[in-house]
């Protein structure tokens, strides 16, 4: 039985600070051979930091790591790989313009060797793919692969290098429920062969389904460690959040006038992506959730409604008025409030002050400028009011926006959007990366805007979020949008089926077959 209890990995007192923030606070953990350890915790709890230390992206300020009884040299992914660790990063680390085989063999041969043995590599990849059920064409370009396939390449990369301990960082975030099942089957196959797995997640249901043991992180500390067997879901959730945060209740509300209408919208995209024949009607006092695996056209749909791209065909109507000139400025003028997917890249400009970000959409309006000059006092007063109203912490009007936490940065964007009392709100992944408290605040604000008569489109990959706040949910699959399902008829199974493409027209299925 000693074989079964073999400890393969030991973290001793790992501490990591980023400036004033303690991301990991004296964390000690062990992992056993052939076991799945789930690292559970909400966004910002320090899970990824801990794994980045293990894989050598970071060096811990204190503490050390033992793998198979030997001390691991810190700060070197090369050493980590050699010691038998493989990591599937949340943001894939693949070069899109290159082939699967290129991505896998990179760094496996001596750098200054005079030639590459690609034939042997191809054989080995095919063998591994067969053994673990990770089918993928070694000669395909990464850019041609679907998200699920890319994840398989990432896992193959680790297996190809003989990983004995596999770290997966939020692997299910990009998968359909069915694909998640397939991934779990692969993981079970791995632990049966004696590999060990660390599974990072903030989703309790998945953790309960796959883990042998659960470790919970909160604010950088390891707060609990339990065998899965016998652990209660409610108990774990309470430990993870530390306190009870009541999720706002969506009260049914009669829908009002039509706020946004899309008819036969088509947008062309690279190799078969794009939008096809999108139709949607959004009314006042209504939140329509848009579900789907990422990369199925949600970004294009969001860009279209934000006024960033124009459709090749079809029409858009906002508040009864035809919307024909697709520019961000026109979208703002038409009363569309836009919360972008990536707050750092598109939402705010980190190197500008908070007050400047708050008026950026309105900087030419007479409220904030005259004859080309900014009205400094009006701008500062405006910022002060919004900072108070939206409770933006640690902020003065002149604070640089990049110094804010993710949640407070999102509040700046919410303030900018809601301040104009928009008729339509497009919220694209508004709670991504936020902790539960901040996410709840966003939901409250969206529901509040709904009560005030806005129509809201909420794009999210988080089904729980969608099911909490949406009046109806539509699914995107390969650039098509299903009819919205009313909240009371929604089940996870139904959504999962649609997300995998079942129930979409012939055309979509054909394209799916073609791309695969």
């Amino acid at each position: 039985m000693s074989e079964d209890r073999q400890i393969v990995l030991r973290l001793n007192g790992i501490t990591k600070r980023f400036g004033p923030l303690v991301a990991n606070d004296r964390i000690s953990l062990t992992l056993e051979r052939g076991k799945v350890l789930a690292l559970l915790g909400e966004n910002g709890a320090g899970k990824t930091t801990l794994m980045n230390i293990l894989f050598g992206h970071y060096v811990a300020d204190e503490g050390d790591i033992e793998i198979f009884g030997r001390r691991l040299e810190p700060g070197s992914p090369k050493e980590a790989i050699a010691a038998g660790i493989g990591m599937v990063h949340q943001h894939f680390t693949l070069a899109d313009n290159m082939t699967v085989i290129d991505n896998i063999v990179l760094g496996t041969e001596p750098l200054f060797a005079l030639h590459q043995n690609l034939a042997a590599a191809r054989r080995k990849i095919n063998d591994l793919a067969r053994e673990f059920g990770l089918h993928v064409d070694p000669d395909a370009k990464i850019s041609r692969l679907a998200v699920g396939e890319r994840q398989r390449v990432e896992i193959l990369k680790a297996l190809y290098r003989g990983a004995r301990i596999l770290i997966l960082d939020e692997p299910t975030a990009v998968l359909t429920p069915q694909e998640t099942e397939a991934l779990f089957a692969t993981l079970r196959g791995m632990v049966a062969r004696g590999l060990s797995v660390i599974f990072i997640s903030h989703k309790l249901n998945e953790v309960m389904a796959i883990a042998d043991e659960i470790a919970v992180l909160r604010h950088g500390r390891l707060v609990a460690r339990r065998p899965r067997a016998g652990a209660g879901k409610e108990e774990i959730a309470a430990i993870m959040l530390g306190k009870e945060i009541p999720e706002p209740k969506r009260t049914p509300m009669p829908a009002g006038a039509e706020r946004l209408r899309l008819d036969g919208i088509a947008v062309s995209g690279e190799n078969g992506s794009g939008l096809h024949d999108i139709a949607l009607s959004l009314r006042a006092h209504e939140i329509i959730g848009i579900a789907g695996v990422s990369g199925n056209g949600q970004s294009l749909l969001a860009d279209l409604i934000s006024g960033l791209i124009r459709p090749d065909a079809g029409s858009m109507t906002v508040n009864g008025q035809p919307f024909s000139e697709f520019t961000p400025r026109r979208a703002i003028a038409a009363g569309i409030g836009r919360i972008p997917e990536d707050r750092h890249a598109t939402g705010v400009i980190g190197d500008l002050q908070i007050q400047e970000n708050l008026i950026l959409e309105q900087c030419r309006s007479p409220r904030f400028s005259a004859f080309g000059w900014l009205k400094g006092r009006a701008i500062a007063r405006h910022a002060q009011q919004l900072i108070e109203r939206f409770d933006i912490r640690g902020a003065a009007p002149t604070t640089l926006t990049r110094t804010l936490s993710g949640g407070n940065m999102q509040k700046v964007i919410l303030a900018r959007v809601l301040e104009i009392a928009p008729k339509v709100i497009l919220a694209n992944q508004p709670t991504r990366g936020l902790d539960v408290g901040a996410a709840t605040y966003v939901h409250e604000q969206l529901l509040h805007a709904r009560a005030n008569g806005a129509g809201i489109i909420l794009i999210s990959e988080d089904l729980e979020e969608l099911m909490t706040v949406s009046d109806a949910i539509a699914v995107m699959y390969r650039g098509r949008l299903s009819a919205p399902i009313p909240a009371e008829q929604i089940t996870v199974e139904k959504l999962g089926g649609l997300m995998a493409g079942h129930g979409f027209g012939e055309g979509a299925q054909e394209e799916a077959g073609h791309a695969a």
Partner: protein, 349 residues
């Protein structure tokens, strides 16, 4: 080793860092002076004396600083918008060409009108010259660094052609130079027995105007937003193409104004060497100033002093005056490094 962003940057740090960088550059360059067989102390003393040590030295430094303020502003404003205008040299000559074209007898107005008119036509010429690469960048994604650099060569060859050909002044005894600017267009002298001319006032006024625009103007906000994060700026409805093009007109116009001050002020006529690399040195001026328009005045004075001082030192001691170029380039690189270290701290891991 990795870099970690600092959250609160102490004010003294951002003020002291460039000065420290310049000091470090001087220490590094003293190795070259030692290599040349001279005492760095004597050499630097001669350099400072030659650049700032007398009324005449100061006046010469101000004369040289005048075009550097303008090319420095051209770089500072363009770089704020992340429009990499390395073509100030060409734009300077474009301004000089326009001033020569209109100012050597074609049009004559009273001085109060003539001088602004020459600045205006010069600025338009320079602005249009930079508009071409800016349009190519905005619409065809052509990298503006390479196009602006290449345009410098083209403009200089064009000037060369004009001065050896159709525009050659027959009264200049065979020298390749343009005809003199009419008296009404000449920038008045502002200090007797020196070459100091009213171009300096124009340059300082331009710096103040540029500062006000960047700080209080809507366009300034749009330029900064576009430069820091074009994607977010576009999302927020800022017309980034139009902003880039406006930036190009302003930046090109400022660089061209430097050509006007040289032709209508310092020299009085167009030659092939009215600019000993003012366009390129302007980049160093802008970086030394941290892209701050008012800082540009100080940085231009400092660099002009180094160049004039190096000339004097080279005559007095014999260290090649190219030490000024080395010192400027070293300062540029070290200031970049110093500003980086005020924003980030180095950390193990």
């Amino acid at each position: 080793m990795r870099l970690e962003a600092r959250h609160d940057i102490p004010l003294w740090m951002s003020a002291v860092a460039p000065a420290l960088a310049v000091l470090a550059a001087m220490i590094l360059c003293s190795a070259l002076i030692l290599w040349a067989g001279f005492s760095p102390f004597l050499a630097y003393a001669a350099l400072i004396k030659g650049g700032f040590g007398s009324v005449f030295a100061l006046s010469e430094t101000l004369v040289r600083a005048t075009p550097l303020i303008l090319t420095g502003l051209a770089a500072a404003i363009a770089f704020r918008a992340k429009l990499w205008n390395i073509g100030a040299e060409g734009q300077l000559y474009a301004g000089a060409l326009a001033a020569t074209f209109f100012g050597t007898g074609m049009i004559t107005l009273p001085p109060v009108l003539m001088i602004p008119f020459l600045f205006a036509v010069g600025a338009v010429a320079g602005g249009l010259l930079l508009l071409v690469p800016a349009l190519l960048k905005a619409h065809l994604r052509v990298d503006e660094v390479v196009t602006t650099l290449l345009l410098n060569f083209i403009v200089l060859l064009f000037v060369n052609y004009l001065l050896f050909g159709p525009w050659k002044d027959p009264m200049a005894m065979g020298w390749p130079q343009g005809r003199p600017i009419v008296d009404e267009g000449v920038l008045p002298n502002i200090l007797a027995k020196t070459r100091l001319h009213a171009g300096l006032f124009f340059a300082i006024a331009a710096a103040i105007a540029a500062w006000a625009l960047m700080r209080f103007g809507v366009l300034g906000l749009e330029i900064r937003a576009t430069g820091h994060n074009p994607e977010a700026a576009r999302f927020a409805g800022i017309p980034i193409t139009a902003t880039t093009l406006k930036t190009a007109l302003i930046s090109g116009g400022l660089a061209a104004a430097a050509g006007v001050t040289e032709v209508a002020g310092t020299k009085g006529y167009l030659t092939l060497d009215i600019s000993p690399g003012f366009g390129y040195t302007g980049i160093a001026v802008a970086m030394l100033a941290g892209l701050h328009p008012l800082g540009v005045i100080a940085a231009a004075l400092f660099i002009a002093g180094i160049y004039n001082g190096a000339d004097a030192m080279s005559r007095a001691i014999g260290v090649s005056n190219y030490i000024a170029d080395v010192l400027t380039a070293t300062s540029l690189l070290l200031v970049l490094l110093a500003m980086m270290l005020t924003r980030y701290r180095l950390r193990r891991g």
